[in-house]
């Protein structure tokens, strides 16, 4: 019988409405008791004095690259990076090779995760076969194999009829439908947000409208089909507004935002630095502010990293040839504290919600809570300790981040999955 006692931390659990200093007793991978002065006899102890203890963080949008792109990341290394970022659960997108469009691939991912991942890995299945946007993939059998949502992330479903059919199917299976919103005709050839910066640099633009057009289309389709519809990495101010409006009309719509979209704007990019190249692109200050507002007013319910590893050689090319995406697991909490909490934009419990109950509500993972009997996934973090991100020490296989060397005030301190400490801050 394994036991762990987390002592004297400020326990913030939005699912329980809890925010006070107390202890958490863990036994056999489950939360056994929450209370004051719990006994420590025969138990491992974690002194969390001065720290915040919360349900384990969930990152509902990562790319683990396995199978197929193991030179960029594996389930094992991605999971270790997740643990180092305070995440106890991650949801991996299906754009692997082969694409996760069948129960076989889903089972393979689950099996690899079982054996090699230090955090929980929840696969997301492809909407269409090979994510080609034409034929629906084996959604039902993938659900039986353990997918928690469907998405053709990175390859938006351009055909509205296909999207509609997939949403109908998703509704019948009670699976969320996650869209990477980008009208590929409007964004074709683009490398960064279309605006003054792209014009100045002579880079082709990805207009805000490419996102807005698809968000609008999908909101209409989600109303038509009644499916649980989720917008991945919301970045355009108009899209934030549309999602807010759809929610107020009672649609089953949710959205996530990445840390880079609420911290950086296109003007922050050093000229042609491919570590600032991602989709959706870094937009304008007014968009960053809209995303922040969306996080404050509830239009956006989750922070997700869109952790997208690419090996160095792929990012060491002419800007227009570099792939899109940055890694983000280890910097997410630091950035959220910096931009959301230390600025006074949101409270700590609200911040915890965006990493826990928010994504859990969207995906119904049965995580994100410290209620007695729940899996003992716990994130322990500090809102005060100063540290700097050194990507060369990252457990991830890739180094593509715009945040290398950035100094943070507060960040993850320890990550506990099913009662086991899988990562500890070690300066």
């Amino acid at each position: 019988m394994s036991r762990l006692l987390v002592k004297n931390g400020r326990v913030i659990d939005p699912s329980l409405g809890l925010d006070r200093v107390c202890d958490i007793a863990i036994e056999d991978g489950k939360v056994k008791e929450i209370g004051n002065d719990l006994s420590a006899a025969g138990t491992g102890q974690f002194d969390a004095s001065g720290l915040i203890v919360s349900p384990g963080f969930i990152d509902m949008h990562v790319h683990l690259r396995e199978p197929g792109f193991e030179h960029a990341e594996t389930i094992e290394t991605g999971a270790r990076a997740a643990a180092a970022g305070g995440f106890t659960s991650v949801c991996c997108m299906p754009n692997t090779k082969p694409v996760n469009d069948s129960a076989t691939v889903t089972s393979y991912i689950r099996d690899r995760a079982q054996r090699f991942a230090v955090v929980n890995v929840f696969p997301i299945g492809a909407i269409t076969k090979n994510s080609e946007g034409e034929e629906l993939s084996a959604i039902g059998s993938m659900k039986e194999a353990g997918i928690v949502a469907i998405s053709d992330d990175g390859k938006p479903v351009m055909n509205a009829r296909v999207a509609r059919r997939a949403m109908e199917f998703a509704r019948s299976l009670d699976l969320p439908y996650i869209e990477h919103c980008e009208d590929l005709h409007l964004s074709a050839g683009g490398d960064m947000h279309e605006g003054i910066e792209s014009t100045r640099l002579g880079l082709r633009g990805i207009p805000r409208s490419s996102e807005d057009v698809m968000v609008a289309r999908d909101l209409i389709l989600s109303g038509l089909t009644g499916c649980r519809y989720h917008v991945a990495h919301l970045s355009s101010k108009y899209s934030v507004e549309m999602v807010g409006l759809a929610k107020s009309r009672g649609l089953k719509v949710t959205a996530e935002a990445t840390p880079h979209h609420f911290v950086l704007a296109d003007t922050d990019m050093p000229p042609y630095d491919s570590n600032f190249k991602m989709k959706p692109p870094l937009r304008e200050i007014s968009d960053v502010e809209a995303v922040l507002k969306g996080l404050q007013n509830g239009a956006i319910e989750a922070i997700a990293t869109d952790h997208a590893p690419h090996p160095g050689a792929e990012k060491m090319q002419e800007f227009e040839r570099c792939p899109f995406g940055i890694i983000g697991l280890e910097t997410a909490l630091g950035l959220a504290l910096e931009r959301l909490y230390h600025t006074g934009a949101i409270s700590l419990p609200k911040l915890v919600e965006l990493f826990t109950t928010g994504p859990n509500r969207i995906l119904s993972l049965g995580r994100g809570s410290l209620r007695v009997g729940a899996p003992a996934d716990v994130t322990i973090f500090s809102a005060a300790h100063e540290w700097a991100y050194d990507v060369n020490r990252s457990p991830s296989k890739s180094r593509n981040t715009p945040f290398n060397g950035r100094k943070f005030k507060g960040g993850p301190v320890a990550t506990i999955v099913a009662g086991n400490v899988v990562w500890r801050f070690n300066d």
Partner: protein, 303 residues
């Protein structure tokens, strides 16, 4: 980080003035052949052209030779680039042979900026994608100054595919530093509103008559079908609405200067009559190209 010439935008007005002043020394007097100098003797310049170019490459080559430098020109076809080597590796290999400067043209915007972060050798940008073509703007400025004495108080119309033109961008950045009033004109789909905000003093027009009204200089841009990523204008009526013809010159200032970075497409963006007219400064531009590139190479290599 090596100091070369990556773009006009990051130069100061003083930098531009210094280069232009030095260029004047390299303009041969009319009718005289050029005397070879030796200020860059023993120095090696590598011309690396990943995009085809005759005039710019030749111009840089002659400029370097007139200063006594050794020049080596490489074009992408037949080089290791076509064997799949990455740009960084190609450049690193060349840099290991210790040239004193690399002049490069590349189809990707920012390619020289990206390389300059990794290479110790100064890089002179001879055109990067749809970003900048700094020596073109310098030679254009020299050509205008030859005819007008200075850039002060001028009004310059730039007409054509503004969105995809590196010549337009470099000229906008340069002329704006001198307070020149710039009118950009072209089909609306090639005239993004944002380009009016990349530098002070820029206005936009879709009517060519409005653009050339009261202009001291009309710069025509090559219609670059190879830079068309999509069908963004009705190509068959381009000349009708944006091609420069004699009827336009009749409504322009009597001493207006017509310029074109070349190579010209007669009958596509400019009529033959205009290209060959007294107002055309197209051949002066070519001549000035050498003088400006001599000044640039000397500046880059003398550090």
């Amino acid at each position: 980080m090596s100091v070369g010439l990556l773009d006009i935008e990051s130069l100061s007005r003083d930098d531009v003035e210094a280069i232009l002043a030095r260029s004047k020394n390299f303009q041969p007097a009319i009718g005289q052949s050029f005397q070879r100098l030796d200020s860059l003797r023993g120095r090696t310049v590598v011309n690396l052209f990943f995009e085809s170019s005759t005039r710019t490459r030749t111009s840089f080559e002659i400029a370097a030779k007139r200063l006594g430098a050794d020049v080596l020109s490489i074009t992408a076809a037949g080089s290791s680039v076509s064997k799949g080597e990455s740009l960084v590796d190609t450049l690193n290999t060349l840099a290991a042979m210790r040239p004193d400067a690399i002049v490069m043209r590349h189809s990707a915007s920012g390619a020289p900026h990206f390389l300059s972060r990794y290479l110790p050798v100064p890089i002179v940008n001879a055109g990067d994608g749809t970003h900048e073509h700094p020596t073109q703007a310098l030679l254009d400025a020299l050509t205008i100054i030859d005819r007008r004495g200075s850039l002060d108080g001028l009004r310059v119309a730039i007409i054509g595919d503004i969105a995809h033109s590196r010549v337009a961008r470099s000229n906008i950045f340069l002329l704006s530093k001198f307070g020149v009033r710039i009118v950009l004109c072209g089909p609306a789909s090639l005239l993004p509103p944002e380009i009016g905000r990349i530098a002070p003093g820029v206005e936009l027009a879709t009517d060519i008559f409005k653009a050339i009204d009261n202009a001291d200089v009309i710069m025509m841009l090559r219609v670059q079908l190879e830079r068309q990523y999509e069908a963004s204008f009705p190509a068959n009526e381009y000349f009708q609405f944006f091609g420069l013809r004699l009827e336009h010159l009749e409504r322009a200032k009597s001493d207006v200067i017509v310029m074109h970075p070349g190579p010209i497409n007669r009958g596509r963006e400019i009529s033959s009559e205009v290209a060959d007219s007294q107002r055309s400064a197209i051949l002066n531009q070519v001549e000035n190209g050498i003088a400006v590139r001599m000044a640039v190479l000397e500046r880059v290599l003398s550090r």
